[in-house]
Symmetry: C3
Subunit: 318 residues, 3 copies
């Protein structure tokens, strides 16, 4: 595997393999000195055309734990401002010696396009409405760990609630959850569903309350306030009344069921209850696991390959 | 000690202890390779809601000399822009694995509030008009070293001149200087003094010229130009005539007396003389000592504790 | 050598010496772990008053390969905003412990001025229309390597085409190419030549087409769109027709001849052909060599000096 562009490119076996590699990275992260020399001398460049402190920091932390060097390009401070083409920018940075680009872009397919202009590995950190594969992997890892499902998600029922239409997280999660065997139900107002769901391995519901007691995982998406301006939502209050996680709704969930969210949360909109008071909330675990999953992805692409040798994660980086 | 929020939280013995630890950090900083592995694998995150290149860089340099990893969040590039609450931002970054946050915020008490949302250590790098404890410690260290006062400041007379009312530096310095035994006099126009000085261990004067020959330390504060707009100052020229350090005033100081300033200076306002020509100016020493003091604070909070073991600062970080 | 301010300060022997040092840095950069501990503990600060991702990143990468610590100051986030003078900013950062400043500034002579306020080494990374010495060195290194001219440029004919008047690259390259023995011809519309070329070791031509078949190196400068507003250029189309590198012009060059550009390119203006399709284009080699040349400069100024000891580049930095 040279790039990580989409969950579609991964087999179920490869997803399992990445999650097992993540187990090792969790162990590394729990050491007194959470640092190994595995990617020493590798240069990981984040190229964010859309701002995201959260995702950029997670990759940055992951790269540093593996002793890679990191550089960040926010596009506003780059030569693209001087009229240089994206291609020239990529080729130029690449010529300085880059092993992996972590790319976020508002256009679907931009990371794929970047692969043509460099020999470096490309990791898609979110492209338009299309894909956000490391988010899906960290969500799988969180469910697998929290519900003790190392062998797969057979029999699990996961609802993804919210703005499916504009969500790269939903697209990636649906593919990953289904690949691992889960039953996935999308819950959203019709205006926030894609025009066609042909080929999506999902069911659809508009009635969250009927589903709630039967779910193993409730996955809430962020509702963008700008969707109201687009007239896709009558009001945030109305959305909240139909689809928001209130304390009353939380009380109707199964005791073992998980509450998840990719962040940042809109408190009072999709998240009305205080997640700190929900026993099933694993939202901060998702953040913690995100670092370990990204370590696994970087190691897979830039390290000694998919097969971990016993020496790979030994010693600290000193 | 888990956090450093205020000089008030420190006993005189603890201040002495930190200054002694700083002696060791000065020695480390003077080595050909000024770097020790003491905080290897620790993650120090600076969270600056107010811009301050000077303070941020000083902490950053300190952390790197101890081999900690560092990350900087300027608030304009963070998720707070997307409407995420401060609490969610802290909890999220914290979940990625943070050992200390260095926090600057325009509201008094913000760093204290942050302690509720994370297990990381919090270092107050300036909150509103309230506190700036590492500034006070570096000021103490500079006086202690420059006047050879390792055992305390008994008998020293220190004047703090300028905008006391809006100054966290003044509040912190008064407490620290007094804790070490100094006599402290505040010199300011009445509009720039706090409404009440109840409980402040200080005297007050409006006549800098009468004091000058008797001082051991003249500590000038930065005068904010915006105070004129607030009508607290008639004009900068008038301020300068009454309280500015002119060459004539400098000539009337005792030969051993120090001139200090927390920076950045307003040349021509509170600092009329060229500090490069004043024998008593230790303004750049303050900057240099700032790095060593911050190394001591980071080591105290994140290292093997207040008691230095002989192995702690051995070898370089390679 | 303490600073690198201008190509004029270097003898031909010193240029040769730096290029030989660069050979070693190319070797280091080709290792599986392209990192040596040579500048461990050194603090390299980039101080960019003009934005340049390309140059800043190149220096940053170079410093990291030598294990130096790096800090970046974009001027918009510094205390200069609070009215602090440039001198105070330099003295303050310097007092925290800086070994080299890499300075870019829009005013000619600014890096020279900075040398007065610090003991650190100063590397000029571009000052106004004056100098950009590391660009000239990387250009020399690229020609030397691509045309196998280790002993000098005697007999080579190099044309520099474009906005000579406003170009620090042109000024630096002319001096460096001539010092190594090349014949240099400037090609530009009269409005984009300096008012006087007294003392420049060059010829001038306005007829690119006549020169083309006889050149060993065609060096294209970036045309700034704002020159049209200055009324120095009638139109970019007209410029392109007279001086742009079209496929037809490229076909008339000698088979061994090189095409060079300092970047970022204006495609469709000075660069009409696709450089990816030109066999003689070494534009990306320039970028790659830029890192190695800057490693050599940093090592020369901050390392064990001009004379490389066999142990200097041994082992990786672990």
């Amino acid at each position: 595997m040279k790039h990580l562009l989409s969950i579609e490119d991964l087999s179920a076996a490869q997803i399992h393999h990445l999650l097992e590699l993540t187990d090792h990275m969790v162990e590394v992260s729990s050491r007194p000195i959470p640092k190994v020399p595995a990617l020493r001398g590798k240069n990981v460049v984040s190229l964010f055309f859309e701002d995201s402190t959260r995702t950029r920091t997670s990759f940055d932390t992951a790269a540093k734990r593996l002793s890679a060097d990191t550089m960040n390009f926010a596009i506003s401070s780059s030569s693209v401002n001087k009229g240089e083409s994206l291609r020239d920018t990529i080729e130029t940075i690449s010529a300085m010696g880059v092993d992996a680009f972590v790319v976020r872009h508002k256009s679907s397919g931009a990371p794929q396009m970047v692969t043509r202009w460099t020999n470096a590995s490309i990791i898609n950190a979110g492209d338009g409405w299309h894909q956000h594969p490391t988010q899906a992997l960290l969500d799988c890892f969180t469910i697998r760990t929290s519900l003790n499902r190392r062998d797969g998600f057979d029999g699990l029922h996961i609802a993804i609630v919210g703005d499916i239409k504009h969500s790269r997280v939903a697209r990636s999660d649906v593919q990953a959850f289904a690949a691992l065997g889960a039953r996935v139900t999308l819950v959203a107002p019709p205006t926030l569903l894609p025009p066609s769901l042909d080929g999506w391995p999902v069911e659809v519901s508009h009635d969250l309350d009927a589903l709630l007691p039967h779910l193993d995982v409730l996955y809430l998406l962020r509702v963008q306030r700008e969707r109201m301006d687009d007239a896709l939502l009558p009001s945030l209050d109305e959305y909240s009344a139909m689809y928001g996680l209130t304390p009353a709704r939380a009380a109707r969930m199964a005791p073992h069921a998980l509450v998840m969210h990719p962040g940042p949360m809109n408190r009072g909109v999709e998240m009305v209850a205080d997640p700190g008071e929900l026993p099933g909330s694993v939202i901060l675990n998702q953040v913690t696991n995100g670092v370990a999953v990204r370590m696994a992805v970087l190691f897979w692409l830039l390290g000694s390959g998919a097969d971990l040798k016993s020496s790979d994660l030994k010693g600290d980086a000193s």
